[in-house]
């Protein structure tokens, strides 16, 4: 699979990164080779294989339902870009 120049440009915009003209071809080739690898993986027959989300036989540890966290709003809001009356503030959202 080959990734087109326009697709790289769109991805760059969405990712908020700038890719200069000279490197676009290089990025396109390298991303295409990743996708080729995926294509190759997809040729493997997995009909008889059960899907797993983890390669190991381990399970999630659970926590007792007890409150151990305290109010640290001030500490968190000192490092927030913008707050107002205890709320984090963001540019106005419109539904």
């Amino acid at each position: 699979m080959i990734i087109k120049r326009e697709e790289i440009e769109k991805l760059a915009t969405l990712s908020r990164i700038s890719i200069d003209e000279k490197t676009i071809t290089d990025v396109s080739e390298r991303l295409s080779s990743v996708l080729n690898l995926v294509d190759q993986l997809q040729t493997a027959n997995t009909d008889s294989v059960q899907s797993i989300s983890r390669p190991f036989q381990v399970s999630q540890r659970l926590r007792a339902d007890e409150i151990t966290e305290s109010n640290q709003r001030d500490a968190f809001q000192v490092i927030a870009p913008a707050t107002d009356n205890g709320l984090f503030t963001v540019p106005k959202m419109i539904d």
Partner: protein, 485 residues
Amino acid sequence: MNWETVIGLEVHVQLATKTKIFSAASTSFGAEPNTQACAIDLAMPGTLPVLNEQAVHYAVMFGLAIDAEIGQVSVFERKNYFYPDLPKGYQTTQLEKPIVGRGAVGIQLADGSTKSIRIHHAHLEEDAGKSVHEGDLPLGSSGVDLNRAGTPLIEIVSEPDMRSIEEAVAFAKKLHSIVTSIGICDGEMSQGSMRFDVNVSVRPMGSTELGTRTETKNLNSFKFMEEAIEKEVERQIDVIEDGGTIRQETRLYNGDTKVAKAMRSKEEANDYRYFPCPDLLPVIVSDDTIEALRRALPELPDARQARFVTQYALSLYDAGVLSSDASIASFFETVANSCGNPKLAANWAMGELSAALNNAGLGFADSPVSAEQLAEMIARIVDSSISGKMAKQVFEAMWQGEGNVDDIIDAKGLKQVSDSGALEKIVTDVLEANPAMVEDFVSSDENKRKKKLGGFMGQIMKVSKGQANPQQVNQILLQKLNELL
């Protein structure tokens, strides 16, 4: 053309845990903004989720209550989308392997018929925070309160098995009844503890193909749900009958303004890029845990209804109303057992008390008249100290906090006269004072006499200032009049 409505529901139920699903911050309602949002809830770099055991157990309990398959290995996934009230940039939820599989919920309809609504699955997930658009905010900004972020939810997804608004509302109420009865949710709709997304489509009656559906999101009361479905069904029928087609879209309904509008169309729907959450291992629920939870499962609404019918000789309908909610059921049982008259207990709980609580916007758990007080008052009706009419005055006084039953009866002079000597004298006096009425009664046909008794009763009650025991007066009156025939 006749149209058939097809409805499916997705119901978000807030689990009644003390802490969040992935952090040990409190979930209590109504705290100052962001005072219950810890580093994990805020998605601070380097934090990791640790799953709350109680949330897992509550989800399994729901599965057991609806006789569903329990996902003994369930997996959390990330649902990626961007919104300011979701600090991680994804919601941790379940998709491929939910904790609760297929099950069913039985509903009862007004005509007495029953129907089974299939549950597709139910999964565990975290709630998002709350966006604030109104109030004293800097110009051009919205506020974000992350106290609710990470509150544990189960999302219950039904099959499109409902065919009317009545069925949808009955299903929603039954779910409310189940989750409050087994104690996994506080059921406080006004605080968002249960929220409904309704999928609605219409099709020509008799058709077996499903029409295009729309989803109306986030309805937080049974009434709003009813209104939203009604409006959406009308809208879809209008569109189709005018030659148009229904677009698959997400809609919003504002219960205050009664306005519904399209939010976004599914064609431009987000790609959520689900994938298994690398921060959480598969959740394993052992057979032992499932069995222990099954044994500890509290009485379910259907079983409670059946028990009320046999134990208290209530009608199926009364038993249904009183068993629907754990707090109503326990209130009724306390009253019935301590006053010894379940029928009167049922009448008062469903009548006077329900009406007063509704007016005041209170639940049975916060009733100003306690179950013990109501039982004492009913006991006074049973032993003929007061009449049913007087009881209403006593109830009103108890509601206003004027003290206990006997003090109120004394203070208001409501004691019913049941002394037969005194009653006989009153009856005799009234008969002597009204010779014309007596004459009229004696000369009337037998079948008309019964009606004429009311006139005498009115007079007697007036003379006794409403304190005569009506049953006894009736007896004495009949006896005296029969002697004159």
